[in-house]
Symmetry: C2
Subunit: 416 residues, 2 copies
């Protein structure tokens, strides 16, 4: 099945808003095995919206329209669609009652503009919007469905999940099922080479997608079958095979972040963590604390940007700093041990590097990073070359050291 | 002048990649007074790329094409454009020399696929790419220019800034000039109300745009005139007027981030900073250290997630913790003072709050945050209610406390 997205909003073209809706829609459609063939973004201009409706591709079955609704946009999309599909606007008391109820919750009453929002084309099926005042609308032309939704991400997602995706799924004949495998620290090309044999032996009905983001690659294994039993029969052996190839390089088999997995394992082990950061400047602990409940295992950390802080607060040896420099193995090891001791934590992490753009030398060029882990019976340190992009160096260093920690933590009652 | 964007990439339609390129392009074009009329995203399929090229709108002068270049995509865009414009591929030694030089820097030699990247249509003008192996290409059809660029954001930006934007600017007849005013901590609607009178009295030829992002609103004042002198005559009095209304709530008059402005002022004052973070978990120092050269003023920080750390490393009074709790005025003040003393810095910042989703109480619901600044002759602390979104609470807290610090720092030889 083929779909298109039509996003309406001058703010998307002026660069005032990054369009995250389309990526979300694309991912949901891919999960249902629907091909998103094209996406078009047009300004809040009736003629441009009409031109886009005229240009819908022959094989498209669903047109997902976002934006251009609501009083501040003069309900542009609604009026264009009403005219386009030859309808007339009719006041819908049940929609207005919903708008009144939403306003009442904020102790206000709707204005005349909001009353207009309850007028809908008589040729559409309203899609009730529990999250906002603008209802969605469903139009049909032959076999093609046009779903109009507000551009506000959480309203759009609500309408998609409540009304649109279930209908698309019901119309689809295939059973689609996915497994996700999260991998950190292996470049996409290297990963592809490592799993090439496994991939080329995948059974019919299975397909693999690489979903890369900085430092992490998500592998999505998809089965397209007639029913769940057939899907399981394909997915189980293929998943086992992939686990055999990648082993513990898979940090999660789910939609999980590395910081969530590390957190789960620390909680399961009843162990605690402290962090000593130089070049990452607080980014390790900032990422760890993005996980709700991270106070159960993160005791805290020291951002030791100045050398004096490394000595005074982490117990780094001044002679090591003088002899080897701050970006060195003895210093990063001492930082990890020092923060662990100072905080009384089970685990200590440390970073020290040249994030750049300045500060590089021939022996330690920009992008040189030392990372260390210290823990019960474990001490690890290694040098990395992270490239010459300051933010990416920090991001990669954070993920690398967390992934190393994960490797040392007791595994969960393993699937693998 | 009118432009269109054509983004090529199946990964953009599958939702694997959020398209941030288009927003950046849209913003740059808006700054030049160019109307981005439409944006189309298509998959890596030759027929879809051709269909999009056929559908270019009659008034479009520039078509900005991103993606579909490079060996892993089989140089789809290059081959389609070559055929579309009736050219043939020619090996360009100077392009290949550049590719070789890039590989040499990583101690590698190009493979056969990379050799193919040096073959370009003879009907295009190559746009040298200093940031990567795939050169840009410029094609013409009558008055219309087609610029093809890689999809990698920093390569695309480089090609736009080095080659494309200067040409667009040269072709434009209007003189467009901007002033940017950066404001933190005032919601967009409140800001709009405060400057409504000023805005309604703007002279002809001036326009104002709100560019909001979480915690920060960028105001863009644009003059569209015949020459720079006329622009200055409009912009100067309007800028003075805005400064009169907003005063020091404007944290920068430029494309600057708050962390850059704080850094500049600390450097100018020859003063140093240390940070004590609880609910922000390292995000304050992580943001401060995003600025290259921040080691000149940031000594470091303590992430004091556990109460014991607050006592032991920051000198917070145990009795205060027991009596008032960690999220309280005496504790956050003690943290700011303590980190300043411990690090010997001129300034200390501190945060303590309930980021959520758990941990809220009736007196201190989720989103309650105490922030503090301690410095020479200054001590400030205040309570905020940041809402119930964990990441946004952290982000807003970081910006809020940095903006307070900015307010206390000596002003630069002021424009205002």
């Amino acid at each position: 099945m083929q779909a298109e997205v039509l996003a309406i909003g001058t703010e998307l073209l002026l660069g005032q808003t990054v369009d995250t809706n389309s990526a979300w829609i694309g991912e949901r459609l891919a999960e249902l095995g629907v091909t998103l063939r094209r996406k078009t973004v047009v300004a809040d201009r009736p003629e441009d919206v009409r031109a886009a409706l005229d240009a819908v591709l022959p094989d498209t079955r669903w047109v997902l329209i976002t934006g251009g609704l609501g009083p501040t946009k003069d309900d542009l999309t609604k009026n264009v669609l009403n005219e386009y599909f030859g309808g007339k606007l009719v006041f819908r008391p049940e929609i207005y009652a919903h708008i009144e109820a939403l306003f009442a919750r904020m102790g206000r009453v709707p204005g005349p503009l909001n009353r207009g929002q309850a007028e809908l084309p008589d040729v559409c099926e309203p899609l009730p919007n529990a999250k906002g005042t603008a209802p969605g609308m469903l139009f049909s032309r032959g076999e093609v469905r046009f779903a109009s939704m507000p551009g506000v991400p959480y309203e759009m997602k609500h309408l998609m999940e409540a009304h649109v995706l279930p209908r698309i799924k019901a119309e689809s004949d295939a059973h689609i099922e996915h497994r996700f495998f999260m991998v950190q620290g292996i470049p996409e090309s290297e990963l592809a080479a490592r799993i090439a044999d496994w991939e080329s032996s995948l059974a019919d009905g299975l397909s693999l997608a690489y979903l890369p983001s900085p430092g992490v690659v998500k592998l999505r294994l998809t089965a397209r079958t007639r029913d769940p039993r057939e899907a399981a029969a394909l997915l189980e052996p293929a998943s086992s095979g992939l686990r055999g190839v990648l082993g513990r390089d898979i940090f999660a088999e789910d939609w999980k972040t590395l910081e969530e997995v590390v957190g789960e394992r620390l909680v399961a082990a009843g162990q605690s963590l402290a962090v000593a950061e130089s070049c990452t400047g607080g980014a390790i602990s900032a990422l760890v604390t993005r996980v709700p409940g991270s106070s159960r295992y993160l005791l805290g950390g020291v951002v030791a940007y100045a050398n004096e802080v490394k000595v005074r607060m982490l117990g780094v040896n001044e002679a090591d700093l003088l002899m080897h420099g701050a970006v060195s193995e003895p210093v990063v090891r001492a930082m990890a041990r020092g923060v662990r001791k100072r905080f009384g934590s089970d685990w200590g992490l440390a970073s020290s590097g040249v994030a750049g753009p300045d500060g590089g030398t021939p022996e330690k060029p920009v992008g040189t990073v030392w990372l260390a882990v210290s823990g019960p019976g474990v001490e690890w340190a290694a040098r990395f070359q992270m490239g010459d992009h300051r933010e990416r160096t920090v991001r990669k260093s954070v993920l690398e050291v967390l992934n190393r920690l994960r490797g040392f933590l007791p595994q969960e009652p393993a699937k693998d």
